[in-house]
């Protein structure tokens, strides 16, 4: 492992190409953002999330109204919180965090992010494996399976993970372009598969009984055996915070810094309503008609090989960029070449994918992902809006040439410790923690900054 200064140099060089704020001539039209958000949010995760909502017994009202409210909150978060900062500062998340927090804290953030990416990619490898395993007749994991359930499953995951990793090493760019091509077709597959299973559920043309069937057979309001019961608020908060890392967590500064105006943040609506509404509803309908908990089997039962191919592609195209990002972060820590770190990330990912828990508990993992990263988003917002108003220095690490802004670090670690405490002792579920933790992080950063900046000034005089 290299020393600190070489790690920091590598971190900077990885992001060197976008060190400076985006200039006006590089700004992009709204079409780019609409396409990007649409493609990014119709993914392999959508197959699983819609299914899990049904398994957790959400009702029709929960799904349709709760989902609507949650998505509006998500879109509002992007538009009113992330985008205004993005268009004013025009820096990527990395550089903006570095200026506030210092290189070492950003390095830790990158590593944590990389591990989360590996596990998310692992879930997608597992999703793809549920389709790949169909022709081999392997025993698919069930909703209650947390550990590998068969040798066939392990071998299939190993095969899928190996291929996905190899292709990420050999041609990330080509795969990213392929993902863009696949996106419109994938969305249509969600919709058409749901239409195709409606007759099996008893919904027929002219009968006008969709809502009755939806209440009785799909979103029944009763959780399946072994699953916790979800409420309206679970749906609202999960839908709002499924991408917490991107909006409240501010990682979409990297995307929205190219926007001509802050209102482009509303382009996230395309992704939210196509992916986090229509696709989740569609996958819920599919699951209700299926005889399996495995996404690949669910899709194959509905529409045959096209469905199975969609699940493979959905899992693969989601795993690919996450593996790439994980590899980039690990590259900084290790100094290894790109292919070696992608291989390492792929190994972690594939091992994680063998545990069906990653898929069956995807809702919990997604909530945890947002929770872990969200305090740093609050730090960015506090630094932008409130730190100057308190007479304190924003971009403190850059101004004082420090590697680790203690106020930011304390905010992150203490808020996560608080979240853990609330979860363990007050049994507050993961889904309900990111929002209050984000708000508390705002206050914590301001308080700690007041103490820290004053102390540092005293120490230096």
């Amino acid at each position: 492992m290299a020393d600190k200064s070489s790690i920091l140099k590598r971190l900077d060089s990885l992001y060197e190409f976008d060190r400076e704020p985006v200039t006006r001539n590089k700004l992009q039209g709204i079409g780019n953002f609409l396409g990007m958000y649409a493609g990014e949010h119709v993914a392999g995760t959508e197959f699983v999330i819609g299914m899990l909502f049904v398994a957790h017994g959400v009702s029709v009202r929960d799904m349709f109204i709760g989902g609507l409210i949650g998505n509006i909150l998500a879109i509002g978060s992007w538009a009113f919180l992330t985008a205004p900062i993005a268009v004013k500062v025009r820096l990527s998340l990395y550089w903006q965090l570095k200026k506030i927090c210092g290189s070492m804290l950003v390095f830790i953030y990158n590593i944590v992010n990389a591990l989360m990416f590996c596990f998310l990619a692992g879930a997608m490898v597992a999703v793809a494996a549920t389709a790949v395993g169909i022709p081999f007749g392997i025993e698919m994991p069930a909703l209650s399976d947390m550990l590998p359930n068969s040798v066939g499953w392990v071998v299939t995951v190993l095969g899928v993970g190996t291929v996905i990793t190899a292709m990420a090493i050999l041609g990330f760019d080509a795969l990213a372009r392929f993902a863009k091509v696949a996106a419109p077709w994938m969305f249509l597959i969600f919709v058409t598969a749901a239409i195709a299973v409606l007759p099996k559920l008893g919904v027929t043309p002219g009968a006008g009984n969709f809502w009755e069937v939806a209440r009785e057979s799909i979103w029944t309001g009763v959780a399946r055996e072994g699953q916790s019961q979800f409420s309206f608020w679970h749906v609202v908060f999960f839908t709002w915070l499924a991408n917490a890392a991107m909006h409240l967590g501010m990682s979409d500064l990297t995307i929205l810094r190219y926007a001509k105006k802050w209102q482009y943040g509303f382009s996230s609506a395309v992704g939210m309503f196509l992916g986090h509404y229509v696709a989740w509803i569609a996958s819920g309908i599919l699951y209700a008609a299926a005889n399996s908990d495995a996404p690949g089997v669910v899709a194959y039962e509905a529409i045959g090989i096209a469905g199975a191919i969609c699940v493979v592609i959905a899992g693969w195209t989601t795993a690919n960029p996450t593996l790439y990002r994980a590899g980039m972060a690990l590259q900084v820590a290790s100094g290894w070449s790109r292919w070696k770190v992608t291989l390492l990330a792929g190994a972690i990912t594939t091992t994680a994918a063998m545990f069906p828990a990653l898929v069956m508990k995807l809702l919990d993992f997604v909530a945890l992902y947002g929770l872990v990263l969200i305090p740093m988003g609050a730090v960015i917002l506090a630094d932008f809006y409130f730190i100057p108003k308190l007479g304190l220095q924003s971009f403190y690490a850059e101004k004082k040439k420090i590697d680790f802004n203690l106020a930011a670090g304390a905010t992150w670690f203490i808020m996560l410790a608080l979240a853990l405490f609330l979860n363990l002792y007050f049994k507050i579920e993961l889904f309900f923690l990111p929002a209050p933790i984000w708000i508390l992080s705002l206050g914590a950063y301001l308080l700690f900054s007041k103490m820290y900046q004053k102390n540092l000034k005293l120490n230096l005089t």
Partner: protein, 59 residues
């Protein structure tokens, strides 16, 4: 040539959507629906990859 690929892709996308509607309205059987959608999938990628999968500058 690009127009040819465009047409193939659009036909493929149409064959991804329409069969499920035809099945829902009981015009075709489930086996036919699955077959047409599989063909539509092949057509979409055969047309869309050359049409849309141009190399772009990475951000």
């Amino acid at each position: 040539m690009k127009n040819f690929y465009k047409i193939v892709a659009v036909v493929g996308l149409t064959m991804t959507l329409v069969p499920s509607l035809l099945f829902y309205f009981d015009v075709i059987e489930i086996g036919q629906m699955k077959l047409y959608m599989a063909v539509g999938t092949v057509l979409w990628f055969s047309g869309a990859i050359p049409w849309l999968g141009q190399k772009r500058t990475q951000n």
